[in-house]
């Protein structure tokens, strides 16, 4: 009855210690890359891959924010509508042309977008925590509000950037590259690195996981549960705004269909990435991988004749279900 700890086997690190659930999305992505190459050799070309990664950027950035919300046990269905709203406000601001010079103007518009996104997130967070309403219901409501506000601002049509000059200045943010790497990919990387840093290394990140894991334990440990939850929604709002910053130069307009179903894709990316929908587990890099998987699948379908590309939505829907089944079976091992 002396020391049981001493009699235990020494800790041996081996492949068995690797958490399969954390690795699964990366394995899936690797398998898809091989499969895509077999189906159509142009798939693996560097141009195609960079193109795919660039197109996954919006969802990846938004999904990094969603990883925070979901890890803390919340949910945000409003991100798609919020994207359209933030884009609309940003373009209207630029069209009003209150500042001289394209660069100061652009900087101000970007700051405004981030502020609006953060404010939208703050609203979601406060209604959820102070109002004590299910996040599903709250963000379903704000989703309708943001979408309708966008349509109202656009007077039923679309909001386009008027100044061609400004468009030209802004264009590189989506179409440009640094040493051959498209800017959107760099933005995703930066957002993910900062996100991973916050979630894994700071006490706020630890609090997010604790709140999502068991909010009673968090409260009894002196963690400000409501504040932590609210901040995750603000982070989500800021991520939406960053996605919008990259999105606007692509089309130069916000339309009633901007951001449509992005919330579902973002949640899908988060779940494929191994983050638990019930909270308590957050995987930023898994999320980025999940967003890539969604886009790669679409790309393979376009490049092959196996399945009609009209069925992309169906395939993505199937992926989320399969991902959940895989996670379930791995956690039972």
């Amino acid at each position: 009855m002396t020391d049981l700890a001493a009699t235990g086997k020494p800790v041996r690190r081996s492949w068995k210690d690797v958490d399969l659930r954390a690795v699964a999305p990366f394995v899936a992505l690797a398998v898809l890359l091989v499969f895509g190459t077999i189906v159509n050799p142009t798939f693996i070309g560097i141009d195609n891959l960079l193109n795919v990664a660039t197109r996954s950027a919006f969802i990846a950035i938004i999904a990094v924010g969603a990883t925070f919300v979901i890890s803390a046990g919340g949910l945000d269905l409003s991100v798609g509508a919020m994207s359209a709203f933030v884009a609309g406000v940003m373009i209207l601001f630029m069209n009003a042309a209150p500042l001289d010079g394209n660069l100061p103007m652009l900087a101000a518009a970007m700051l405004l977008a981030v502020g609006v996104g953060a404010a939208c997130g703050l609203a979601n967070g406060l209604i959820t925590t102070v109002g004590r309403i299910e996040p599903f219901i709250v963000t379903l409501g704000t989703m309708g509000i943001f979408r309708a506000l966008t349509i109202y601002l656009a007077e039923g049509g679309s909001i386009a950037m008027k100044s061609q000059e400004l468009r030209a200045t802004y264009r590189p943010v989506y179409f440009g590259d640094v040493f051959g790497v498209p800017v959107p990919i760099i933005v995703v990387a930066v957002v993910a690195i900062i996100g991973a840093f916050i979630l894994y290394r700071t006490s706020f990140g630890r609090h997010v996981i604790a709140v999502g894991s068991n909010d009673d334990v968090a409260r009894y440990s002196g963690i400000p549960v409501n504040r932590v939850r609210t901040v995750t929604y603000i982070i989500q709002g800021i991520c939406v705004a960053i996605a919008v910053l990259v999105y606007v130069p692509r089309l130069g307009a916000a339309t009633p269909t901007t951001g449509l179903l992005w919330e579902l894709q973002a949640i899908t990316a988060v779940v494929i990435g191994g983050t638990a929908l019930r909270g308590g587990v957050g995987r930023i890099w898994g999320t980025v991988c999940g967003a890539l998987i969604l886009e790669v699948v679409g790309n393979i379908m376009v490049l092959s004749d196996l399945v009609s590309e009209y069925l992309i939505g169906a395939v993505q829907g199937a992926i989320i279900i399969i991902a959940m089944l895989v996670q379930r079976s791995l956690s039972r091992r």
């Binding site: 235990g8 700071t202 006490s203 630890r206 609090h207 894991s213 068991n214 334990v217 968090a218 009894y220």
Partner: protein, 519 residues
């Protein structure tokens, strides 16, 4: 309610025993948690299985109820060897397990819960009338009276447990396994449950009874099997064992000194003064003083408002009233305020409110005091690991590996981890709610010694407990609560179960003596 405890004396000697276990063993990976268990379970007998946490009790239960398959050894029923395909298979053979946790749907009625998954039908519709009648009969046969049409969420814990037992007993059964059924019951409720078990025994059914509470085991069991470190230490008629013997056999050494020596009385300096504290709906007008170096007990029945009073005091619930700390008025509107002021509260609900069961020991340990482990923006994981090593050493947390999850520790080690977690806040006042609930006797002794050492170091401790012997054993003074109010203070020679029960229940001294005698 009184429980007659006649021993089932006439067990047919010729027939094979209901269940016979030979050389049973179970290994998880490399670790053998159960070794060479022999057990004979006879009909009409209450057979108690006792042992410290980690002794293998729950594993044995799961093997017997078909939740796990043995690695070696045989089970036979009526002399025929059997291998259970699963819990349903075991149930078909008449073996039912009454779980420790309440597994009922709170929004369904008593009858709907009892018949859940095996509803009685009439044509295409469920036959509510028949089920209500059946449920009423099932509950009555346990000597209780619960309206079968009441929603389970409105029942007390004890009533829910009865419903759960009634549900388990609805299938034809020959062996009923109770897994620590009294862990969350008051003495009176425990009394009633023991009567129910006696009723089951009288019907010629075998009962396997697992409990930490030795007086209960002594009161109800015909036979006692003691497990230690996965082995059977002994199997003996209950008549031949006193509770002290049982404790000694479980721990493997003498534990007559369960409680530390009483220290010299605390000084007279009040560190905490509470005046007229109301916790709406739970406690009213609580007034008390806590002195430096004192261990103050809070006794009372479950539901008397003790937990809620403490939660109100530290800011986990809305509360109104005056609180003075070292003579200065304080208001704790949030639990962080009280933590900063040096007061910590350790919840009775270790698994639900104390620890993140799905997270590692390290993350749990530093959660409340995380600020101390942050350098710049970053959490210093190295310093966290050092703290974990220190805590494992200081609080004797027994773990096979340091990267286990909190949920994989035994109850006693979880409690030690929770204590270590809150002590990182370096508090001067420690409030411990049910410090030894569901904890084996060896760990209990450690926790008592730890509480005593806190007081000796000049810290003040409030202990909330439903176990009167432990309050009497470790406290300098005990306040008794009844229905939300502090109704009495006992100290010195008045600290005995009789007096406490009188105050806690409002019963007459005579009735109380009867209850205390058995508790």
């Amino acid at each position: 309610m009184s429980v007659a405890v006649p021993r089932a004396s006439t067990i047919p000697a010729t027939a094979a025993p209901l269940m016979e276990v030979r050389g049973l063993a179970k290994a998880f990976g490399m670790v053998e948690v159960l070794k060479d268990i022999d057990l004979t379970i006879a009909s009409g007998e209450v057979h108690a299985i006792i042992g410290e946490n980690g002794a293998g009790k729950s594993t044995l239960m799961k093997l017997l109820a078909g939740h796990l398959q043995p690695t070696r050894g045989t089970l036979s029923i009526d002399g025929d060897p059997v291998a259970f395909a699963g819990p349903v298979d075991a149930e078909h053979r008449g073996i039912v397990l009454v779980h420790q946790e309440i597994l009922l749907a709170p929004d369904l009625t008593v009858a709907q819960n009892i018949y859940l998954g095996r509803e009685l039908r009439r044509g295409f519709t469920v036959d509510d009338r028949a089920m209500n009648e059946g449920a009423a009969a099932a509950v009555r046969s346990l000597g209780a009276d619960i309206d079968p049409s009441v929603v389970v969420g409105r029942l007390s814990i004890a009533q829910r447990q009865l419903v759960q037992i009634a549900r388990a007993l609805l299938v034809p059964h020959r062996l009923v396994i109770f897994d620590e059924p009294t862990a969350s019951l008051t003495p009176t409720e425990t009394e009633a449950l023991l009567a129910v078990i006696d009723t089951i025994r009288r019907k010629g059914v075998a009962v396997l009874y697992i409990s930490h509470r030795l007086p209960e085991v002594k009161a109800i069991a015909d036979r006692v099997t003691v497990l230690r470190d996965g082995r059977r230490v002994t199997s003996e008629l209950a008549d031949r064992l006193e509770t002290a013997d049982m404790a000694r056999l479980m721990v493997g050494r003498d534990v007559s000194k369960l409680y530390p020596d009483h220290r010299a009385a605390a000084g007279d300096e009040a560190v905490l003064e509470v005046e007229g504290l109301d916790v709406p709906g739970y406690a009213k007008g609580a007034t008390f003083r806590l002195k430096r170096g004192e261990i103050l007990g809070f006794a009372g029945l479950i539901g008397a408002g003790r937990t809620e009073l403490m939660e109100g005091l530290v800011g986990l619930r809305t509360a109104h009233g005056a609180v003075r700390l070292d003579g200065r008025p304080k208001r704790f509107s949030d639990v962080r305020d009280s933590m900063r002021a040096g007061i910590v509260y350790l919840s009775e609900d270790r698994k639900g409110k104390g620890l993140l069961l799905a997270e590692s020991l390290r993350i749990n340990l530093t959660l409340a005091a995380l600020g101390r482990f942050v350098r710049g923006f970053l959490i210093d994981k190295g310093r966290e690991r050092t703290a974990l090593d220190g805590a494992i050493e200081e609080f004797d947390i027994r773990t096979r590996r340091k990267d286990l999850l909190a949920g994989q520790l035994s109850g006693g080690n979880q409690q030690k981890l929770l204590i270590a977690k809150m002590m990182l806040l370096d508090p001067s006042i420690i409030i411990i709610d049910e410090p030894t609930r569901g904890i084996d006797i060896g760990t209990k002794e450690q926790i008592y010694r730890f509480i005593a050492s806190l007081a000796e170091a000049g810290k003040s401790v409030i202990v909330v407990s439903s176990e009167m012997p432990e309050l009497i054993g470790i406290c300098d003074r005990i306040l008794v609560m009844r229905e939300g109010r502090i109704v009495a203070e006992v100290s010195g020679e008045h600290m005995n179960e009789n007096e406490i029960v009188v105050h806690a229940t409002g019963a007459t001294a005579e009735e109380a003596a009867l209850v205390a005698e058995r508790a």
